[in-house]
């Protein structure tokens, strides 16, 4: 049995605007996705902002009802058997809100222990263990309002583990953390997987998914566009070249011309401080740099380099080509 299964899972949001003439807009946040996470697996749901990651997670933790399709956690349906699902799953969300500011970290954990029905004797043993795991030992009696972003994030993790759930979902857990804090957090997540937990993680950082996950599903605009191991995803672009062009003020239509140029598979634009970096992907040997520059006629161009594709490029091509 898979730890998490989603079948044709779909969720729309209805937004009404206007006072007298009410208009209803339907937003297709998740458009019928399928995936399965095996027990003990560390699975990544990777996608840009607005791809539908949080919506998917909220359906799995029973906070949102799917518009259609089904999802099960260790065999329990997230709608019909919501209470069982809540006992089996630990939910950790990103960002620094969501704890009771006026309570100490310890009291936050004690309160949620009660809500998860953890008996007092077990609490006495587990809460210090979890504080140790997330590195909050010694600070647990301070009010959360004085906690740094990283400490709050780590408190969220401890809270998600209070009832010792076999399945843990983390929604962008490293968002807003400094590099050192993020690295420590990733270390903690890896440790959870090593301890036998099933972990589902969402992120919009390719390298994070690469470093942590056994398998990745790439989600874009509410649809899963690829699933596989990091190596497998990378092999999809293995036969390509990436040409990086530094440009100054390239207009939209120049970029469009580049995108439509024969042989070019994708063009991603990254804005740098003074320049734009155009990342052009093309099959190896299919285009000459000279030809590409021809499409940028009149645009001031800086350094041009060609290199091997990375996993990041695989991700960019998956998200932009679909």
């Amino acid at each position: 049995m898979a730890a998490i299964e989603a079948e044709n899972l779909r969720r729309t949001y209805k937004q009404t605007s206007g006072f007298l003439r009410r208009r209803t807009k339907t937003i297709e946040a998740v458009r019928g996705i399928d995936f399965a996470v095996d027990e003990g697996e560390l699975f990544g749901l990777l996608g840009p902002n607005g791809a539908g990651k949080t919506t998917t997670i909220k359906m799995l933790v029973t906070l949102l009802i799917p518009t259609s399709g089904t999802a099960r956690v260790l065999g329990s349906d997230v709608v019909d058997d919501a209470r069982t699902v809540r006992r089996k799953i630990g939910y950790v969300f990103g960002g620094d809100r969501g704890a009771y500011e006026r309570l100490s970290g310890l009291d936050n954990l004690r309160y949620f222990s009660e809500l998860y029905g953890v008996p007092p004797k077990v609490q006495k043993q587990r809460i210090p263990e979890l504080l140790e795991l997330v590195g909050l030992t010694g600070r647990e009696r301070e009010r959360v309002e004085g906690y740094s972003r990283g400490m709050r994030q780590r408190l969220h993790i401890a809270r998600g583990l209070l009832h010792d759930p076999p399945v843990i979902v983390l929604d962008e857990p490293t968002i807003g953390l400094d590099p050192v804090g993020a690295r420590e957090l990733r270390h903690t997540i890896a440790e959870l997987a090593r301890a036998g937990k099933t972990v589902l993680l969402t992120t919009h950082y390719m390298y994070e998914a690469d470093a942590l996950c056994d398998r990745i599903a790439v989600i874009a605009k509410g649809e899963i566009v690829a699933t596989g191991t990091p190596a497998h995803l990378k092999s999809a672009v293995a036969d390509r070249t990436v040409i990086e062009i530094e440009a100054y003020g390239a207009p939209e239509d120049a970029i469009r011309r580049l995108r439509d140029a024969p042989g070019v598979t994708s063009v991603a634009v990254e804005d740098r401080e003074h320049a734009q970096l155009l990342l052009v992907q093309a099959p190896q040997g299919s285009v000459l740099t000279q030809q590409l520059l021809g499409h940028l006629d009149g645009v001031r161009v800086g350094r041009v380099t060609a290199r091997e594709p990375t996993l990041e490029d695989a991700y960019v091509s998956l998200v932009t080509e679909n």
Binding site: Y13, K14, T54, K58, V61, T62, L63, L64, I65, R83, T84, R86, R87, Y91, F93, G95, R97, G98, A99, Y100, E101, R102, L103, D107, N108, R110, Y111, F112, E114, L115, Y116, G117, V118, P119, P120, V122, Q125, R126, E129, R159, H163, D164
Partner: protein, 278 residues
């Protein structure tokens, strides 16, 4: 860490009951500290003691000035109603405040029994409301012409505790509405003054237009205040059992309404994403 798993397997009815009771009592206590910011003396003294004391004095002197009723009438009415400071504002904040702290998502992601979770939040406010009322009575005793017999005090306390409880149930309804419609204060403020007008606090219900009497008879405190006035004049509890019964019944209705509203809003939130769950 598999202790919990084993515990869950051997989950008796007993243990589940114990868990629910712990959510009710301990959970109520934590939520009070977590969400109610009037615990520190800096907030508690002005809002829970000074404000109510001024309300009691204001209406008693207004009554003296207009020669309508004696001090006791105003002291009892207002001392019971000031429990709304806790029972309406306090409770509404501990329920509706989940929106500000953005803790609704983790809260509703727990399997906790919702009845215990939400009704447990009322408990500390019942106790606090009783203290606020007692202080109101003490002000009346010390500064005004209010001198109930010593023997009436225990019976008066019973009526006041019941009224505080009913008022708190009403506050849960207000909190539930606030949770759904964004701001608790826009609902709690009018609710408090609504009670001042419709519950016979300063104006006997019989002096109000018919429709106001109808509204008043369905409000919390109305029957409790009437009972408290008689008991303070020396009537026995059994002689006001009709009023007490009605007050208790109204309280139960508000508790039930609050529970149903919170469940409906939770279900609606999951369906329509209306509670802005994160």
């Amino acid at each position: 860490m598999s202790v919990a798993v084993r515990n869950r397997m051997s989950y008796g009815r007993d243990q589940r009951l114990r868990q629910t009771l712990r959510i009710f009592f301990h959970g109520g206590y934590f939520s009070y500290r977590a969400l109610f910011n009037w615990q520190s003396p800096r907030f508690y003294v002005p809002t829970m003691l000074a404000g109510p004391a001024f309300q009691v004095l204001f209406f008693a002197y207004l009554g003296r000035y207009s020669h309508v009723r004696d001090d006791a009438f105003y002291v009892v009415g207002n001392a019971v109603q000031v429990s709304g400071m806790s029972g309406v504002f306090g409770v509404a904040i501990t329920v509706g405040g989940e929106r500000w702290t953005q803790t609704l998502a983790p809260l509703l992601a727990t399997p906790a029994n919702r009845m215990a979770l939400f009704l447990g939040r009322a408990l500390p406010h019942i106790v606090n409301g009783f203290i606020v009322s007692a202080f109101g009575f003490a002000i009346g005793r010390l500064l005004l012409d209010f001198h109930p017999g010593l023997g009436t005090i225990p019976e008066l306390a019973v009526v006041v505790l019941l009224s505080t409880t009913t008022c708190t149930a009403f506050g849960l309804v207000v909190g539930a509405l606030g949770l759904r419609w964004r701001d608790v204060f826009t609902i709690a403020n009018p609710a408090y003054f609504l009670m001042l007008l419709f519950c016979g606090v300063n104006i006997p219900l019989s002096a109000l237009p018919k429709w106001m009497q109808v509204v008043g008879s369905g409000m919390p405190l109305t029957h409790g205040i009437a009972a408290a006035r008689r008991v303070a004049h020396g009537a026995s509890l059994s002689s006001v059992d009709g009023l007490i019964g009605k007050e208790a019944l109204i309280g139960l209705c508000y508790f039930a309404a609050a529970y149903v509203l919170l469940r409906v809003f939770e279900a609606e939130g999951r369906r329509r994403a209306t509670l802005e769950l994160v």
